[in-house]
Assembly symmetry: C2
Homo-oligomer: 286 residues x 2
């Protein structure tokens, strides 16, 4: 877990990295770091699943995680009560999108999708300044997709779903299917053809479902240099002339783009989440 | 086309039905009907595609329809200029959702999906009072789905996409595939197994992508009495224990529900769209 203290105008004063052990080890280290400062607002960008219903007494609690000790841990409230400051909590994917829209690849967008294709697959959507999702955080990471005809494991490897996106296209599923890491798969390998086919389907669903101004793709799998161009090309083919979106057909390199803040979108997201509390301009989720 | 005049509190004073011929025949009939009244606001719930960018000079224009004469027809502006009143335009699916959320199956919801499974398939999503979609109206009608193993035509019948939902599960595609209308297909026919499989996938994508408080299904195909229970059951199986949503696992009969205003959601939607102009309370899209 990374903690950082910022001034309100975004200057980082100090930061700390604490391994995510059991809460009784991790939290005191974080809290003693923060307690040296007078904190006016706390922003949290966390792994989930999270209880994010505003007004709920469990708001900001981690729910059903398999991480030992963190199940039902009241992360937001513990920080808020100890540091005597208001707190706001989002998922890590939502936090990454908030960071990208404020100072990364989503600058200037009123509606924007961020999707991460790493060990797992997640997405977040901001519509007119607010993250979408009432029952839970909205994410298309587990939508069911059409299998590629040359995929040797068309059911995929998700423990919850047969044939969902995460089970077919996450970095973990690629490694399970091909027996090597994403980094080791050569560019000419059939895996990239299959991977781009699934991620193009994903982008088509993101476009149709959200009609956003931009789609930002991040995560370790996207580091493969040929993947993004392959996805863009397949999205154009799959959507075809339906809708005739000029953003897709004439300007896709500026429509489906690479994340710009990878490695720091967690801490920057948390900063902007905290800033929303102090400053209800721009992107916030209340 | 149906026109109606309402009082601000929702009493219908009179209405007219005019066949959708060429605009030069249809519009004068509508306009002369309306011109007998002093109109304070105009709401339009129309077939699309529509230009719906607020502030655009083409706002409220029908764009690329195959209907003769209506391509690029400025429907909103023609009504507004002739009747000297402010106008607001939404798609028919968006209008139906606005009606359902105001006085139908979506009452009390802050976030709600409406999907129509008829000749075609469309959907609309209201998030905290506003319809979603920036480039265009957001609709998951053409998302790509996983083919049913017993579907004899797994590519479907959409002229734009191979294997999209509308091409596989619309009333038109069912009729093309089975050679009889939805009304004539017996309840024991394999078609309903296949249809519910596709529509359950659709609902899973709607849930994941929007995390709405409720999903409302309407349209002619949904009239088959066994279909909705089959969809509900398959949604529970397909989502599995992922997310553990109590709305899906414990209360699905109140979560995925039938539309209540079919046959009148067009005119009621138009009324509520007009009312948004006069009365910026409740559901509106500005």
């Amino acid at each position: 877990m990374i903690g950082a203290v910022f001034t309100e105008d975004g200057k980082m004063l100090s930061d700390i990295t604490v391994p995510t052990g059991m809460p009784e080890d991790t939290m005191p280290a974080l809290l003693s770091f923060f307690s040296k400062y007078t904190i006016s607002a706390i922003g949290v960008s966390s792994f989930g699943p999270l209880q994010l219903t505003k007004g709920s007494p469990e708001y900001g609690t981690i729910t059903s995680t398999p991480k030992p000790g963190w199940k039902n841990y009241p992360l937001g409230r513990t920080l808020g009560d100890t540091l005597h400051a208001p707190f706001a909590v989002e998922t890590d994917v939502g936090g990454a999108l908030i960071a990208e829209i404020n100072e990364g690849a989503g600058r200037g967008c009123d509606t924007c999708v961020y999707a991460t294709i790493g060990t797992g697959i997640g997405s977040a959507f901001i519509d007119r300044g607010k993250l979408t999702g009432t029952l839970r955080h909205a994410t298309m990471g587990h939508i069911i997709v059409k299998p590629h005809p040359r995929d040797p494991f068309p059911d995929g490897f998700c423990s919850f779903h047969k044939g969902c996106l995460e089970g077919l296209a996450s970095g973990k599923s690629m490694q399970t299917r091909w027996g090597m890491t994403v980094r080791d798969l050569p560019g000419s390998h059939i895996s990239w053809e299959i991977e781009s086919y699934y991620l193009a389907q994903f982008c088509v669903s993101l476009i149709l479902g959200y009609m956003p101004e931009r789609i930002i793709l991040g995560g370790g799998v996207m580091k493969h240099p040929d993947l993004l161009p392959m996805i863009r090309q397949k999205v154009q083919v799959m959507l075809g002339e339906y809708l005739n979106l000029p953003e897709v057909h004439d300007d896709i390199d500026r429509y489906i783009v690479r994340a710009e803040l990878e490695g720091k979108n967690g801490i920057l997201g948390a900063f902007y989440i905290a800033k929303q509390i102090l400053n209800k301009r721009g992107v916030y989720n209340e």
